[in-house]
């Protein structure tokens, strides 16, 4: 405490008292009279004013400097994000190139067998077939309009198309002689899975949004008739009748189905005896119907 008391009591520089004692002066307030003393006072005040002003100016200058530094950081973040995007695009492009090369290699080597290619969904195909559109019941509102998962009761909502329904429909089409099937533009391979995740139906882990358009290539008229009279067709009609699910089947003369996006080579290896493959521009071999 004595330290604080000392500070409080001796707030005035003791030099003043000593100087006054030397001069033998006390009492009345006065300013220095001599010119030299006045100049000294003025010089001190100039110094004090300069220091205080500088401090204020510095505080004002450093604030925008900080903002500038922050802006610089933000700019750097944007730059790096842009370059990361570019690199990601490169990666995507290279992945596509690899896929194309793979396709080309397949066409060169094992692709002579069109049937294998067709069954493996390795190439785009076209031909007559049926176009089947399945959609949720009109009152099942939260289907594809972005309703949050909490806004509906999920699969207790019977007016919605489920993954099981899609599985039955697709399997029925295969059973009735479809040679290639796609759902919402996704070609199905022998290894494709139709599953549910929460509210969405996934085909090969890619979510679909209703309405679900199933394209099946086959003998159009006969495929349509066979499907509608099959057990799965009847199941679909039952869904239509009981739950209001909408389904529409039509025969088409020429359907175009893309190749499956991700074909994984499992058992293929380079043939050591074969000469290096002649490059072909891209995998455009068509599995003719």
């Amino acid at each position: 405490m004595s330290l604080l008391t000392n500070v409080m009591e001796h707030s005035l520089d003791e030099g003043y008292a000593q100087a006054a004692a030397r001069r033998g002066e006390t009492g009345s307030s006065h300013l220095p009279k001599a010119l030299r003393a006045k100049l000294g006072l003025a010089a001190g005040l100039v110094l004090a004013a300069v220091v205080v002003t500088l401090g204020a100016a510095q505080a004002q200058v450093s604030a925008p400097a900080e903002a500038k530094e922050r802006q610089k950081l933000i700019d750097r973040i944007h730059d790096e994000t842009r370059s990361a995007d570019t690199l990601q695009k490169d990666v995507d492009g290279l992945r596509d190139t690899v896929g194309d090369e793979q396709q080309a290699a397949l066409n060169d080597r094992g692709g002579s067998d069109r049937l294998v290619e067709l069954l493996a969904a390795a190439s785009p195909v076209h031909g007559p077939g049926v176009d089947l559109v399945v959609d949720d019941a009109p009152e099942a509102s939260s289907g594809g309009d972005g309703g949050g998962p909490r806004e509906s009761t999920g699969f207790s909502d019977t007016g919605r198309v489920r993954d099981r329904d899609m599985q039955r429909v697709v399997n029925g089409l295969w059973a009735c002689g479809a040679e290639a099937v796609s759902v919402n533009g996704q070609r199905l391979t022998a290894l494709s899975a139709i599953r549910a995740a929460g509210e969405a139906i996934l085909v090969d882990n890619r979510p679909l949004a209703p309405p679900y358009t199933v394209l099946a290539i086959g003998d159009g008229k006969r495929l349509s008739t066979a499907f509608q009279s099959s057990a799965d067709g009847q199941y679909l009609r039952m869904l239509q009748h009981d739950y209001g699910i909408r389904a529409r089947i039509s025969v088409r003369d020429d359907l175009r189905l893309p190749a499956a996006p991700s074909l994984i080579l499992r058992y293929a290896g380079p043939d050591p005896a074969a000469p290096p493959p002649a490059r072909r521009p891209s995998g455009n071999g068509k599995g003719e119907k």
Binding site: S11, A19, T53
Partner: protein, 110 residues
């Protein structure tokens, strides 16, 4: 008169010339400002007490600024710069307050 002129000149010089503060001493500028204010208030009080002395004023001003900056500099080197500058600000702040109180008693007689 000359004193007031000096004050004005100092502000104008600081604003117009805007001398570049070297980045080395920049951290000590706020402390220097507080020390300068302490010296100015001390001088003002001494004037009202009737014991003002120009030499004491100038010397105390310069030494206050230098010593305050030196203490903080030393603290920076020892790694306790922030604490030491807090200490300097506390001591100088107490002095400024009690000097201001003395000035107030002189001016308002209260």
């Amino acid at each position: 008169m000359i004193a007031v002129l000096g004050l004005v000149v100092g502000v104008v010089v600081g604003l117009v010339v805007r001398p570049v503060v070297p980045s080395g001493v920049e951290p000590y500028l706020p402390i220097a400002v507080v020390a300068a204010l302490d010296a100015v208030f001390g001088g003002l009080r001494a004037m009202l007490d009737g014991i003002f002395d120009d030499k004491v004023f100038v010397v105390s001003f310069l030494s206050n600024v230098v010593v305050a900056a030196l203490i903080v500099f030393l603290g920076d080197k020892l790694g306790v710069g922030a604490q030491l500058s807090t200490g300097v600000v506390v001591v100088l702040g107490i002095r400024i307050f009690s000097n201001a109180a003395a000035i107030r008693r002189h001016v308002f007689r209260a």
